[in-house]
Every structure is written in C-alpha cells, then in structure tokens.
Symmetry: C2
Subunit: 411 residues, 2 copies
C-alpha cells in the first residue's frame, strides 16, 4: 500500500484552488450538465439504494438541487446575492479591489455548499471563468449539505439511503471514500464555524466553502447594510476584521502523531479504557503548538508509556474525517532496551505490551481471513485496527521490515 | 542539524499535560518561588536590557506579577473565581463530575495566562497536586500576556525591552526561541479566539490556556449565572455546547508542506511577488482537508509550478509561530526530466529556476560568511532563507545528499 491509496486519501481530481474565487466559473460549473453534486446529511453521504455491501455515492445534478439552492438565494433579505448561487451585487462606490477581496466565491449564509475540484477529462466540458484563469476541461464536483434543509431531504428518499460515514470507510470504493472524507471535513468545519472568533459576529462562507470571513469586514468595505442584520446587532468595531480586510478563518487540519514504539524486535500495542475487548493499537496524540512532529512523538511516548524514545522515523500519512485530522504515522525507537512501561502519567491507557513481528503479522492477517489467531490477553483474542486505519498500515510496514533496517534506524 | 535542534523546536522541558487541569498544582506552581513567568506584549517577548546582540529572556516571579494577576481575579463581577489565579467556587448542587469537566484549569476571562511545562531537576522544588497525579520536581514555566494590560506594562520598562519576535529568532538562545515560540502561538490563539464558533457567546480559557470552552456549556452545567453576563446576552440554547459539555475548542496547529522540487540533479528555487530582491526559496502551502502530506506536496507542486511529481520523501519538520504552523519539509521528484515549469495556474510565483548542488551550497554558505557568491538572476545575487527557516535545512540536506540516494528515492 502506498500513501496515495491510504484510506480517505487518493482523490484523483484536481482541486484547482485558484478557481474557488471565480463567481463566473462557479456559477457556470454548478449549473452545467456536467456538475456532480455530492449530498451530505449531518456529515453522512447519500448513496444509491442497494442491498449490496459495496455502496455507490449518489451524485445529484443541478436540476435535482436547483430549487433547494435557489430557495436560499432568493429570500428577500438575501436579495443582495442576486439570481445565481455565487453572486453578490456590488455596493455602489466600493472600490473594485476591496470588493473582490472580500466577496470571492461568497455564498448565501443559509447555504452549505462547497466546490471540491475538477475530474479532468480531455473530452470533458469546457467551462468559462474570468479572463486569465486557467480552467481544465472535465467534470466539476460540489458538495451540498442537507443538514439544515430537512424540508428538502424527502426529495431523495426514494432513490437514496443515508450511509453512516464510519460504515462508508469499508463499503464505498476508495476513490469515493476520499471524496466523501474531504467533503465531510469541509462541510463540518463550515457548519460549526458560524461566528467570528474575534467578535462573535456572523461569518460568511467565502471561496466556495474554503474560507470564512467576518461580517464586520464585509460591512465596512463592501456589503450593503441590510446584510449586517443577519447577525442581529451592529458590527463591533473593535473586531480585528474592522481594521483588516483579510480577517479570514481557514479550515482546520489538526495533525496527530500515530506512534509505533519499537524496542529491539518488538512493537508496543496499547489499549485505552472503554475500547472493545481485545482491541489494541499504536499510541496517538495531537501535535501541540511549538513542537516538531519528532518532538510530539517523543512527548506522546513519554506521557502515555513513560518510555524515552530517541530516533523517530516518519512512515506514512492519511487524512481522517472525524472531524478533520491529519494522521502522521511514525516509528519511534526506545533508547534503553530494558526500560519499563508506566501508564500512570497521563492515565490514558489501560494496558500495553510489546508484541513480536510474528504476533503482529498474525493479528493483521486474522482480520482478512476471519480466522482465529493465537495472541490472547486476559482471555480475549487480541485484534488491531482494520485496513481503514493508519495504525494498520504502520504496523504492517514495521512487521514487513527487515531487522537490519530497524537496527540501522536506531543509530 | 537534527530535527530536535530546528529553530523554534527543541524545548527541553516536559509539558506534563496531565497537570493542566489541576487547580491545586497550578496555583501552587504559579505562586511558588520556583515559577518562571515569561511575559509577552502583543506576542513579543520581554528581554533584559542589553546592548549585546544575544538577548536574554526576562522571567518574572510571582511577586512581580501578583498584583497584575490578582487585579483580574479580584474584580467583583468575577468574584466566583475566588482568591487564587486558578479557582472557581462550586455551584451549589452541581454534580462534581460535570463541574470538574468544565472548570479544570479555568482562568478569569480577563487574564491571558498559560502553563507551559516543567524544567525537570532532581534537586528542584516539589509541588503539590491532587492525589493520583504525578508531579515531577523542577521549575514550572508560565506565560502571561501584557497585551490587554497596558497599565501594568510600565512596571517592566526599567528592566526590559520588548524584542520583536522575528528578531528573536536570531538573537535568543535556541532553547529560549523554542520557549517563546510555543508561548506566542498559545497566547495568540487564546487572544484571537474569544467567541464560540458555534453560537458567538464568550469563551473561557480552560486547562490553563490549552483549551477554550463556550460559556453556554458552563452556564448550563456549572456556572453561577452572573458569569454569563460577561457575554452581554442570554445564552443561546441552540449552541452545540448546550447539548454537549465537551464543546471545547483546541489550539490551531496548521500543517504546511515545504517542498523541494527535484529534477535530476537540480532543485527548484522560486520567488513570490513582493519578496526582497534576489530572495528565492522552496515552494510551500497549507495541507488541505482530506489530503495526506504526500498528496498536498504533489498538489502544491502542480498548482505553483505545473510540474507533475511522483515520489515524495519526508525530511524534517519545525514549528513556526507566525501564528501557529507546523512546517513539514519534503523532497518531491519530478516524473519527466524535460517537463516545463508554468507559473500561470495559481499565479503565486513571480519566477522559478532549477539550481545545481554547487549553486545551492554557495548560497547557503554566503549567508554564514557574508561573502558574495556567483549566482545572479536579473542583476541580483540570489539568496535563500537563513538558518531559522526550514527551507534552509531542506536545501542543505538535499545539497549534501549523494546522487545515489536521490536516484534511489525516485524509483
């Protein structure tokens, strides 16, 4: 398994980030026959109804979602958005530069919609944009959230099921898993980031879901005053946005180190309180501010196991959409082979032990062929996370590595 | 240079994260003679006055900051905090478990204070905490922000200068640079994250500056009602915090890929519009949601240079406190050696060219010995970022690697 086929990674389309701010492109792409619009309901994808285990994502067309989208745009209080999904009438007298800076790819505040990218095809449709912008030919992908639009949800119940996102990891094709993961993280962040962290005013989605901007910045520089009333109060002028137009918030991507602690020819397996009986994995934790990933790895090893690790070796990475983590898989080599594990520092783990390569191989295989294996702890057969988790990949890489490589890595 | 000595990394103290929620420990540590309290003014550290180029961080003691801290705690409207910096009177009838969950390490909303860690020394002071918590002996480190306390700033003007943080990177000892970097990122995040992203209510600092919690959660579960009035309005019950006590916000750590694009035996150097004349560096960009770091690397290479890269090799990482980035240094190998660079996709770069190892070595050396070197573009000698930047380390690793290693890596 290479990094590009890791679960939740491997999107084959181009994100064409430079097009996220072109209203001309976005409107043309969304309303074109080529548009493929993924639907999420509370972060879970809509799929074609099917008794088969392998599910297929349902992609709506513009005609399917037109009334849902335009119902948000057309409401009189948001009339400033104009007749298209991505649009906004220019305030009289606003300098064009300021206006463009704050309103690129802006959507009605009632709409959770994002542009994801283009699946490039030479024979695909050619879409227009502003002069000077390069637009590849192909199928444009969007995501529309139905979470706040329960009245529209019924339209799809005939054709679709809502597939739980955790189950989607094992039952969608890898390419669709990657697509839904990206869309879910982006929509989740948009729907949970409604207010400016600086002043509490309403934020608006800009760059088609890839940034958010404080209403205060818009109020001062570009917006018709009526828009402000959405926040329910006058704009607080002490907000940072009042002095800086660029008070954007950008999506969260939280790095997490997943650490295989290696001692001689064994690797540490640990379990947290409350996990299913017999389940063990590598240790993990968020990278903190002011840390390299190697330092975060050593800190987590010390905090959770009391082990002092020296050399750290990066192995693999994977996005994880619960809600928006970047998993970084590393091997960390214990300095003194006779070191004792202690779990009483941060008290996160219930138990930990060192397993051999043969034992780990047996655990990894037993998931595939459903056979029982021979590692038992406290009366329960030991299992490790399945192929959808980076821990599986990290353990697999270690188990398949040569002893020579490990010894070399420790030096 | 190993990762642990990278600029802004290499903190030698223990973050002891499990102590961030112990009011008993935090109060004892902050008010002990051993406390070392870093002061930041708008994110810039206070240092001892000195004409020397090498500056020393000024560490205040509890007696220095006592009146500043207690002025925030003692205000009548915040009387619920009680007489100590970390404290809060329990609401009558609140179940203890709920109470503890939301008020661990809580500080008065007017105070920007955070616990950083313990510099462990066997002969250091021993500090108390709740039963069951492991407390290493040593010197506890805190950071206190003076940004909103201009009336207290004068107390230090006799002894201290405010050192611009950018200059601090080159003029503080590496250990102090790492300390200030962590403190700056943490305080910056606290001071710019004042409101709940879900409902706009005031947030409070919990776990001594390492989380923030929506006032709505506190209102429902634990807080005396008077606290709510700080937000200036009744708590909105539609906030996620109303149904979930764990509506914490955690600090941002934004991963950025820094990419050395390698083609045969050359590496790409590029410059953005507006950079100082002659300055070139590696390309860089934020990791997006739903991407592995290898995918982010390939996307950035394509977006900024139009080059299709295959194999990607992680090299090194470094935190960067402007404001809270995690820099990830990678080499990326171009698939077809005769590929043409194009800069017109996202239009971020002004110019780019491939440099040889000898040229890069010359650029890296010229910064150290201040000698001129012989690479000139458009009439200006080419320079690369200094040792404080991860680009310097990445270029240096590549320039010192053997041709054999690169060829091998590309396969």
């Amino acid at each position: 398994m290479t990094s590009s086929t890791a679960t939740c990674a491997g999107l084959r389309f181009d994100r064409v980030s430079w097009l996220r701010g072109s209203n001309a492109f976005l409107n043309a792409a969304l309303t074109s026959d080529a548009a493929r619009i993924l639907l999420l309901d509370r972060g879970h994808p809509l799929v074609h109804k099917s008794p088969a285990r392998r599910k297929q994502v349902y992609f709506a067309s513009w005609s399917d979602v037109r009334s849902t989208v335009l119902a948000c745009v057309d409401r009189p209080e948001y009339g400033v958005f104009g007749p298209e999904p991505y649009n906004l009438r220019m305030r009289e007298g606003s300098p064009q530069k300021v206006w463009l800076g704050s309103t690129q790819g802006l959507i009605s505040p009632l709409l959770s919609l994002a542009f994801l990218g283009i699946e490039m095809r030479e024979d695909g449709p050619s879409l227009p944009a502003e002069p000077g912008l390069h637009v590849p030919t192909g199928m444009p992908y969007f995501v529309l959230s139905l979470t706040a639009r329960s009245q529209h949800r019924h339209a799809w119940t005939e054709a679709c099921d809502v597939l739980d996102m955790r189950k989607a990891l094992g039952s969608l094709a890898p390419q669709d898993t990657a697509l839904v993961s990206m869309a879910r993280s982006l929509i989740d962040w948009n729907e949970r980031t409604r207010h400016c962290p600086s002043c509490g005013s309403k934020q608006y989605s800009a760059l088609s879901g890839h940034k958010r901007v404080c209403g205060t910045a818009l109020a001062k520089h570009a917006y018709p005053c009526s828009m402000l009333e959405i926040g329910g109060r006058a704009p607080p002028q002490e907000c940072e946005a009042w002095s800086s137009l660029q008070n954007y918030t950008h999506p969260r991507t939280d790095p997490v180190v997943l650490v295989g602690v290696v001692c001689d020819d064994k690797i540490l397996l640990a379990r947290k309180r409350g996990w299913p009986k017999g389940l063990y994995s590598c240790i993990a934790g968020f990278v903190e501010q002011g840390e390299s990933i190697e330092e975060a790895t050593r800190r987590e090893a010390m905090e959770e196991t009391g082990l002092d690790v020296g050399h750290v070796s990066y192995q693999c990475s994977q996005p994880w959409p619960f809600p928006a983590q970047l998993m970084l898989g590393l091997l960390a080599f214990v300095k003194t082979p006779d070191a004792q594990v202690r779990l009483d520092l941060d008290n996160e783990l219930e138990e930990a032990f060192f397993a051999t390569k043969e034992q780990v191989k047996s655990m990894l295989c037993s998931q595939n062929d459903q056979q029982s294996h021979d590692v038992v702890r406290h009366g329960h057969p030991v299992t490790v996370p399945g192929p959808e988790a980076l821990a599986h990949e990290l353990l697999s890489r270690w188990a398949q590595s040569s002893h020579h490589v490990e010894v070399h890595s420790r030096l």
